[in-house]
C-alpha cells in the first residue's frame, strides 16, 4: 500500500504531504507517525500541508488525532503551510483544529519546535506556576 514518507532530522520527524490523500492513506500516516515517534523518541513532528488543496473534516480530525497522540507520547506537533483558501474553508466548515499548533512555513514551524518545550506562552505560564 502507498505510504506518506516520514523523514527524521535529529530529534524531529518531518512529513510533507504532497498527494491528495484518501482516507486510508491518512489513517496509515497517523499509525506510522505514532510508531515512529516511539521508535525514534522524537521530540517534535512537523507536518507540511502546503501542497494540500483541501482539508475536510476527516483530514482535520486526523491532524487533531496526530497532535493529541504525539502529545501523549511527549512530542509536539506543528502543522505548517496551510493555504489561505484552505483556512477560510476550514473555518466555515466549522473546524477550528483545536489543539493543533500551526505555523506559516517550515522555518517558523521548526523554530516553534525548537523553542523551550515547544510550549505556547499560556502553557509556559502554567508550567511556571506549578
Amino acid at each position: 500500500m502507498e505510504r506518506i514518507p516520514i523523514l527524521q532530522m535529529g530529534q524531529f520527524l518531518l512529513v510533507t504531504i504532497q498527494v491528495d490523500m484518501h482516507d486510508r492513506l491518512a489513517l496509515a500516516l497517523q499509525d506510522d507517525l505514532t510508531n515512529r515517534i516511539v521508535k525514534t523518541q522524537a521530540q517534535g513532528v512537523l507536518i507540511d500541508i502546503s501542497a494540500l488543496e483541501i482539508v475536510d473534516s476527516f483530514i482535520g480530525r486526523i491532524l487533531g488525532n496526530i497532535a493529541t497522540m504525539s502529545r501523549i507520547l511527549d512530542a509536539d506537533t506543528v502543522v505548517v503551510g496551510m493555504q489561505p483558501a484552505v483556512a477560510i474553508t476550514l473555518v466555515e466548515l466549522g473546524l477550528s483544529l483545536t489543539g493543533v499548533r500551526t505555523a506559516i512555513n517550515v522555518e517558523q514551524g521548526m523554530a516553534l519546535l525548537r523553542s523551550p518545550f515547544g510550549a505556547s506562552p499560556e502553557e509556559r505560564d502554567t508550567h511556571a506556576q506549578t
Binding site: 491528495d20 475536510d56 473534516s57 477560510i88 474553508t89 466549522g94
Partner: protein
C-alpha cells in the same frame, strides 16, 4: 442545464475522483480559488458520507443557469439506509459514526443552496449549488 456528468462513488479512492471532478468543473466555470476550495471540500464531505454511510452512490455534476448567473450543482444520490431524523443529522457535532459530525451542517455553510431528502430504507439525496 448546460452540461452534466455522473461520477460513481463506492470507495474512499472514488472520493478522490469526485474531488478532482468537482475541482475541474469549478475551475472551468471560473470560480475563484476560495470558491473552488469550498466546492471541493463540500463535495468531499458528501461523497465520503455516501461511501461511509450510504453504501456508495453517484454524484451528478451540472452547470446550470439562472438568468445571467451560472451555477455549479452537485447531486449526491445513494440507496443506503437513509436518515430517520434529518434535523438531528443537520446539527453541528451530531454523528452516528466516528466523524466530527460536521459533514452535513458544514457543507451547508460552504454552499449557496443545500437541499436534502431522505427516506429510511430507500436512500438519501443531497443537492448543493454554488452560484457565481
Amino acid at each position: 442545464m448546460l452540461k452534466h456528468e455522473v461520477v460513481e462513488a463506492r470507495s474512499s479512492a472514488d472520493v478522490l475522483v469526485v474531488r478532482q471532478q468537482a475541482r475541474a468543473w469549478a475551475v472551468e466555470m471560473g470560480f475563484s480559488l476560495v470558491e473552488q476550495t469550498k466546492i471541493v471540500t463540500a463535495a468531499s464531505e458528501l461523497a465520503r458520507n455516501m461511501v461511509d454511510y450510504g453504501l456508495g452512490g453517484t454524484v451528478e455534476l451540472e452547470a446550470i443557469e439562472n438568468g445571467s448567473r451560472k451555477g455549479l450543482r452537485l447531486t449526491f444520490t445513494d440507496q443506503g439506509p437513509g436518515i430517520s431524523d434529518l434535523d438531528l443529522a443537520m446539527t453541528d457535532g451530531y454523528t452516528t459514526g466516528n466523524g466530527l459530525g460536521l459533514g452535513l451542517s458544514g457543507t451547508k455553510r460552504l454552499m449557496h443552496e443545500f437541499e436534502i431528502t431522505s427516506q429510511v430504507g430507500q436512500g438519501t439525496r443531497v443537492m448543493i449549488t454554488r452560484w457565481r
